[in-house]
Amino acid sequence: MQNKVNIKINGKDYQVDAGITLLEACKQAGIKIPTLCYLKDVNELGACRVCVVEVKGARNLVASCVYPVSDNLEVWTNTERVIKSRKTTLELILSNHNQECTSCVRSGSCELQKLAYEYGCDGHKYEGEKQQFLEDVTDYLVRDNSKCILCRRCISTCEKRQAVAVIGANERGFKTNIGCTFNKSLNDVPCVNCGQCIVSCPTGALRERDNIDDVLKQVFDKEKFVVVAPAPSVRVALGEEFGMPIGTNVEGKMIAALRKIGFDRVFDVNFAADLTIMEEGTEFINRLTNGGVLPMITSCSPGWINYIEQYYPEFLPNLSTCKSPQQMYGATVKRYYAKKFNIPLDKLVVVSVMPCVAKKTELKRPYQSAADGYQDVDYSITTRELARMIKRMGIDFLNLADEKPDSILGEGSTAGLIFGATGGVMEAALRTVKEVVEKKPLEKIDFECVRGTQGIKRAVVEVNGVDVKVCVASGIANAKVIMEELKSGKADYHFIEIMCCPGGCVNGGGQPIQPASVQNSVDIRALRASAMYSADERAVLRKSHENPEIIQLYKEFYQEPNSHLAHECLHTHYIARKK
């Protein structure tokens, strides 16, 4: 049993775990303390001074997020002195903050705005010198330092969760600013474009590059035939933007909303995920039986591709040559669907909705144009952008009746659905690979050994008498561990799934942003993933190769997985890039 200590908070006695911080102790006691810079296990600095409390015997107020509890500690969390101090701190933070709150993308979800409101702050109490702020606009992200409060949550996330550490604090004192080495743009440093910094930012200093206007312009253009498809993870998070609980599956409402916005066809990336399994599963079987390069590593996550190309280019031959589901969807629309329904390519616009900001740069990569001269995908918007688009179009999301996607390219198996969670691609692949190789129905469809939000999972799966060693990693810090294993020659895996974001796409950089108070107390990744697994449990169509639309697509067009045409449309090349 864990040791306990006795402490007194606001005059009341509590017994809490020894070795924790005052902030956690107060949480255990049900007392709320505001925080700004604190992000559990990632950013514990005591920098912002918003979580200060009064401790008996201490001359100054202490930052509760880094103050350890000890026996007989006496604490007050809401005295006049504490409240006044927090308010002044907030007003000083606001003194050089760009307060364009009315139109800020984080209005309503900004942690600073919320606290300033709760503490009755005067945003213009202190008017001092303003910093010269830097703005960095890339294809995937906008960094606006005029809204930065120097909490360093982005830095810690980039360094600890993603192990790339391309942003940090430069200069000193008043001139301190968050930026890249030699003040370069994120475009010119080895950033992987994951956007995890965005979901860790308490304010609007980091945001996705907004493509809503670009997409709506196409939708409003009557000449254009605009198709859209949402990724698996979008449906288990979109509801959060409309006040629904984390882990609500809003698939039917999402499809209905996309149709109401005015897209000409609404498809589903779950279908393209099934297509990926057909191609990638077949590629794996071929590599395994014909002595190809092993281990084979998945290629669905563009953030991961950005990482391996820059940090471990010697392992590029290990990557599956399959395009990501987003790109397979676009390629199939432009090569197959356009021809089947006589849609001129110059009138056809392909849009995807992704939990991801790296998808915005993936679609501009070379070797991603199955229809010569036309990008496979024209625009990629995030879950957050879709939510804003739905609101802008005046759609009453919560009261929408469920709808189904259009056929063909609309039906997905739940093997495709679970792509969004770490281990999902592996499980979907194993379901198909094992059944195809063994030529008999699976006794057990669930591969629990690759589920769960742990950063690294290892398992051995028997396929037709052969022990297939698989590994699943999510978050670049974990991917790095696996790559170092490979580099040292210690690993003997056959198949590795890597997703760039911790927990997989459900926790992608384009997903709804939950405040630190929520991030610190519940496992958002697990909740969103559970919505996928419960849908999978209830579903009938649970294997990619049994998807009737997939079968039809191969019959009508690609003929068979890894065929010449499939290679032309659905596979790609990678480029070693200098860091």
């Binding site: 550490a165 391309v166 940090g168 430069n170 200069e171 000193r172 890249c180 080495t181």
Partner: protein, 169 residues
């Protein structure tokens, strides 16, 4: 800050041997970063991007981490010192008597910012705190030469002295 036009970085074989030895000795532990940067500055005189990259690779830390430390400490320089260093005294007396204007004029004439060096490696600007000869205010040093009671109108003539001197070397 103006874009660093930069003196082209070159490395002698001796410098390489010395730097490799420093990284060999301290490279394994990230907490040695500051020591390594100080040693590197001793070896190269300054810490341009090439040296910072060497340090980052040698210590297994990111370029940004190195740059963050370099820009935090004022004694670490990203630009080389010039052959002729122009230091205008920014002490109170010099400042009220126009040192700020002199420094601005210097930047204009040399086309560089505070702390930078001209691409030919000849001139650098490094304003300084009070040097204690307030009777001569405003004061400017060029290496060990002292120019007192000057105005911003004298700057071009003074720079010209050193341009000529450099030519005759």
């Amino acid at each position: 800050m103006k874009e660093n036009k930069g003196v082209c970085f070159t490395e002698t074989p001796e410098q390489k041997v010395q730097m490799d030895a420093v990284l060999e000795q301290y490279g394994g532990d990230e907490s040695n970063l500051l020591v390594v940067l100080q040693e590197a500055q001793k070896i190269y005189g300054y810490l341009p991007i090439e040296v910072q990259k060497k340090v980052a690779d040698g210590m297994g830390v990111s370029m940004e981490k190195v740059y963050g430390v370099v820009t935090f400490y004022s004694f670490l320089r990203t630009d080389p010192v010039g052959k002729y260093n122009f230091s205008v005294c920014m002490g109170t007396v010099c400042y009220v008597k126009g040192a700020g204007l002199i420094n601005e004029k210097l930047k204009e004439v040399l086309g560089i910012d505070d702390g930078q060096c001209t691409p030919d490696g000849l001139f650098a600007i490094a304003p300084t705190r009070c040097i204690g000869c307030c009777g001569l205010a405003p004061v400017m040093f060029v290496n060990d030469d002292v120019y007192g009671n000057i105005t911003h109108n004298d700057v071009e003539d003074i720079v010209e002295i050193y341009r000529k001197r450099a030519k005759n070397l």
